[in-house]
């Protein structure tokens, strides 16, 4: 599997990371080196093996479905790059 510049562009887009056009070929070549390394996994016989979902055989804990926290608007917004009138502010998303 070889990654071309177009695929690199698509992956960058999916990851929401801006990559300039002139940086795409180098990125594609790095991907290819890493994916080439990963390709070894193809050698392993995994027939009948279930993908691991939890490294410890424990069941996940469940908690009661009740409100335990809240009323922390100020703390939640404290680190926002742009917060106004009790909300996170972002560029307009609806025309």
């Amino acid at each position: 599997m070889s990654i071309d510049t177009e695929t690199a562009r698509r992956v960058a887009k999916l990851a929401r990371i801006k990559v300039e056009d002139d940086a795409l070929p180098a990125l594609a070549s790095e991907f290819n080196a890493i994916l080439g390394f990963i390709e070894q996994l193809g050698e392993v016989d995994v027939d009948g093996v279930a993908p691991m979902t939890s490294v410890t055989p424990q069941r996940l804990k469940r908690r009661d479905d009740v409100v335990t926290d809240g009323h922390q608007q100020e703390a939640v917004l404290k680190n926002a790059p742009d917060a106004r009138e009790g909300f996170f502010a972002v560029p307009k998303v609806v025309e």
Partner: protein, 495 residues
């Protein structure tokens, strides 16, 4: 008392209880040592006011007579831990200015036990790296140098600042986190002890997430006894982390008898890599002989899927990272890029993440995005998770056959020079974790113990891998190895 910064946790605890020194004195000496150690790049946010205040309270508590073991012990905290009101940036530009409104469970437990925070420690950005060279703060530097050579060496990574600070006696101990070897590799590179507990032993709540199924926090200390004491304070069930184990925490320090007679130690043949330096080979053989002399039974074992651990890791860890790091979008915290006229929300995300993430983080997020994308999910991600199940099965089998612990080298080499790997392909750097990454994939406890020096005078470590939840037994085996190895070398001060 002199050289208070050189004390171990156990020595400081005992001296403070006897009234021979105080937390205020030890803390003040550590703060001075930190001020003078700028060249090491270990501490990146100093918190002297907090430290002084905490030390004062600790001294009152110690005088009261019922203080826990960690009371009054000055620590460094890896920048990955959220600490309330104190910058917690994961060494990334994207978290520039972030000061959490909450405290991680681990630091909460340490502070409740009376521990003192000296400041935050350097690391690789988002814990992605093996040399501390991907940090937004610049490199952390190893206090050790090759004999007759002034070249700056890496302290390893990602917990490079933690390793450097403990090795240079800037603090008595430090917190670290380990996703593929990030506690054990830097510990080996700097001649200290580093332990990754069983997955689920320590709460991950409030620790910036890299790969959630692999991440575990652990202690980085001057010796095995300190690892036992500090781990004790970090462990325990936390309702805020659904993967945290609701199991009793044994008294780890009490388990340190040094008696390992009749224990079975496995030596995995797959860890004998082509091109492994003779010194590492010899260190491993010496360590094996030490455990045998201490009364352990040595058996050759096979962990047949070892070879596939790194490639499986480099699918699973980036996949989880691409998901975990999706939260850095310039909306809720940290950096937001300046936008051009007409830029919408997508441009805001893309520019913010391009400016905020360094090259290695971008690379891993994109690799993770790719292996999770439609059409490749089965071929890469699911296959890697199946291989991971086989890697764990390898360990399950040897443990079922009666092996108590496994001895391996901690790293494939001693510390290398900063900058040495700059032009290498990323895979070369990934190979640093070849002996440690299996342990994360299998969720096991592992500990790196300094056991010797190489020809150039640099420390080397051996790794012991234990059975799940048997940290107490593992620490005791490590203690026996430590006693036999008698490693006491310290770096010569140049900073």
């Amino acid at each position: 008392m002199s050289d208070l910064t050189k004390l171990t946790i156990a020595q400081a605890r005992d001296a403070m209880r006897k009234g021979e020194t105080t937390s205020a004195e030890i803390t003040a000496d550590c703060l001075t040592a930190i001020e003078r150690a700028g060249a090491l790049g270990a501490f990146v946010h100093n918190t002297p006011e907090i430290a002084t205040e905490q030390a004062k309270s600790a001294d009152t508590r110690i005088k009261g007579g019922d203080a826990p073991a960690m009371c009054g012990i000055p620590l460094g905290i890896k920048d990955l831990f959220c600490t309330k009101g104190v910058p917690s940036q994961a060494a990334s530009r994207i978290l520039d200015g972030f000061a959490p409104e909450y405290e991680s469970t681990v630091t909460t437990q340490l502070f409740d036990a009376g521990a003192v925070m000296l400041g935050k420690l350097n690391m690789d950005e988002f814990a992605m790296g093996s040399s501390n060279e991907t940090s937004v703060y610049g490199n952390a530097v190893n206090p050790w140098r090759r004999s007759g050579d002034e070249a700056a060496l890496t302290p390893g990574g990602s917990s490079g600042g933690s390793a450097s600070a403990v090795a240079a006696d800037l603090c008595l101990a430090a917190t670290g986190t380990d996703t593929g070897g990030s506690i054990r590799q830097p510990a080996a590179f700097t001649g200290i002890t580093g332990m990754k507990p069983t997955y689920g032993r320590v709460s991950r709540w409030g620790i910036v997430a890299f790969a959630s199924s692999l991440d575990q926090a652990g202690p980085m200390t001057k010796d095995v006894r300190d690892a036992a004491i500090m781990l004790q304070a970090m462990c325990g069930h936390d309702p805020k982390d659904s993967t945290s184990a609701d199991l009793p925490v044994p008294d780890f320090e009490a388990a340190l008898t040094g008696d390992i007679k009749g224990k079975t130690i496995g030596i995995p043949k797959e860890y004998r890599m082509d091109g492994m330096p003779d010194e590492i080979e010899k260190l491993w053989a010496d360590g094996t002989a030490m455990l045998k002399d201490a009364g352990a039974r040595i058996v050759d074992i096979s962990l047949p899927h070892t070879k596939y651990a790194l490639p499986a890791y480099y699918v699973i860890a980036p996949a989880e990272a691409s998901s975990n790091l999706a939260r850095y979008d310039g909306v809720r915290f940290g950096h937001r890029a300046k936008l051009a006229q007409g830029d919408g929300i997508t441009e805001m995300y893309e520019k913010t993440r391009a400016e905020g993430f360094g090259a290695e983080v971008q690379r891993r997020v994109m690799v993770g995005t790719y292996v999770l994308s439609a059409g490749f999910y089965d071929a890469y991600y699911n296959r890697a998770r199946k291989v991971r199940a086989l890697i764990k099965r390898d360990f399950d089998q040897v443990y079922a056959d009666g092996v108590d612990a496994i001895l391996t080298p901690a790293t494939p080499s001693a510390a290398f020079a900063l900058g040495e790997m700059v032009d290498a392909d990323p895979i070369q750097m990934y190979l640093n974790d070849v002996f440690t990454v299996t342990v994360n994939l299998a969720g096991l406890p592992g500990i790196s113990v300094p056991t010797g020096l190489d020809e150039q005078g640099l420390p080397l470590g051996l790794q012991l891998i234990g059975r799940p939840w048997e940290e107490a037994e593992l620490l005791n085996t490590a203690y026996a190895l430590e006693q036999a190895a008698g490693f006491v070398a310290k770096p010569e001060k140049w900073w």
